[in-house]
Symmetry: C2
Subunit: 233 residues, 2 copies
DNA sequence: TAATTTAATAATGAATGCATAATTCATTTT
DNA sequence: AAAATGAATTATGCATTCATTATTAAATTA
């Protein structure tokens, strides 16, 4: 029995769930480009599913704000506008600040170690100029802080907003100076968390976010200047 | 031509959208009770739709956190747990505070009048002991403040959280004293907004929310003590 | 009689089919 | 030739059907 206890139940995510995740990733990674029409039929064939689960997934992603559904005219990848970006920014700021506060209250030594580990790995990527790697660990750190806050609802809410501004492309826009600065900020973040200094952590997280948004904003602007460059096929 | 200009375009919401709204309302109003199984087939017949749009709606509501989907076992109305309530509370607090701040910055005289009008109507309902009416105007006021903040993303995010704790039933639990206090708080809210006093508004909104949550918390506790009272048919 | 197994029923997940609306392209008209 | 009309094509919304999984009921066994 003792070995049986440890067995985790087999999870068989339904097709629409898998599809939702898959499509979400495709949008985030830019495989499906902004403003592009989502070719329902074509996607179904490529992914080997029928239209039913595909349409269910599209509905969910639309509810998440990643797509827009035009009745009888299909789905489009929702482009983030400058206006929306300006809206999301203060919101995420408030949530980050809250996360910082809660994290300082609740973080365990074990969770702190996770942050430290990812921090180190992130630094290594920075030194190796490995931007994708950097980005991955960066994300893990922020998720770990959310985790430490111990508020699942906060995490979910934050992530659903973060996804909207997390279109991979803008990374190319980050300058070397900005990158260095971001790394420096992360040093402060780590030390504030280690010191459980809620005010400091909240402040630096907000500052960090603000700087990040400056980069994103630049990218969005550059996108708007070269519009309708759709279809690379 | 001049009359044609004023015509608003015909919107024909798709079935699944209507269904989503309808079901959401049913959940909020307690027609579908917490932990109850959602009778897919039965609902389809009652509402005169096929399973396809119904299932699309269920997926969306599940993504919204109002339902849980158990693979091959259908959907259930997600009961709000005490734990989740404790999580939602600080989150909504942070968002209300932000809304108050932004509203003081951006509110127009016209928007202020809307708040005043609903405030008056709400008072009338209070005096008439019309709780449903009070609740409706109360909600309109809070929505008007969000509106005045001028941040659509904030509004959407806030409302999606608010829906989870907005199960009509707990209203019965509000005492006369608490009701009076809530009304008093609303007086302060209005005057703070009129004075564009961001700090004061943020503070009172947070306080107001905290008090409201005390009532909800009590209700959730009372629900947990008398479990499995499902099925009134 | 209680527990277990097996069969029957119902419900869900996903694919297909059909009707309608949108789009494209050819044709007509000015 | 440009604009407008109409037919053909395509895509979408929804209903239906089929296959699989859960649930219930019946039957068997201890």
């Amino acid at each position: 029995m003792s070995t049986l206890e440890k067995l985790s139940s087999i999870k068989r995510p339904s097709l629409h769930e898998e599809l939702t995740d898959r499509l979400r990733t495709m949008i985030i990674e830019g495989v499906l480009e902004a403003d592009e029409k989502v070719p329902e039929r074509e996607l179904c064939e490529k992914l080997g599913v029928s239209r039913t689960p595909m349409r269910e997934a599209l509905k969910v992603l639309a509810a998440d704000g990643l797509l827009t559904l035009q009745p009888n005219r299909g789905a489009r990848v929702r482009a983030i506008t400058l206006n929306e970006l300006e809206e999301v920014f203060p919101l995420m700021g408030a949530l980050e600040a809250l996360a910082g506060e809660l994290a300082c209250k609740n973080v365990t030594e074990k969770q702190l170690q996770v942050v430290r580990k990812n921090h180190k790995a992130m630094l290594a990527c920075f030194k190796a100029s490995d931007m994708p790697g950097y980005f991955r660990y960066n994300q893990l750190i922020h998720e770990a802080i959310l985790n430490a806050a111990g508020n699942q609802t906060l995490t979910t809410t934050y992530l659903s907003l973060a996804v909207r501004v997390r279109r991979a492309r803008y990374l190319a826009n980050m300058s070397q100076q900005r990158w260095q600065a971001a790394v420096d900020e992360h040093e402060v973040i780590l030390s504030a968390l280690e010191a459980r200094d809620a005010n400091k952590l909240s402040a630096i997280l907000k500052q960090h976010l603000e700087n990040k948004f400056a980069t994103v904003r630049q990218w969005v602007l550059s996108q708007q200047n070269k519009p309708c460059q759709q279809g690379e096929s």
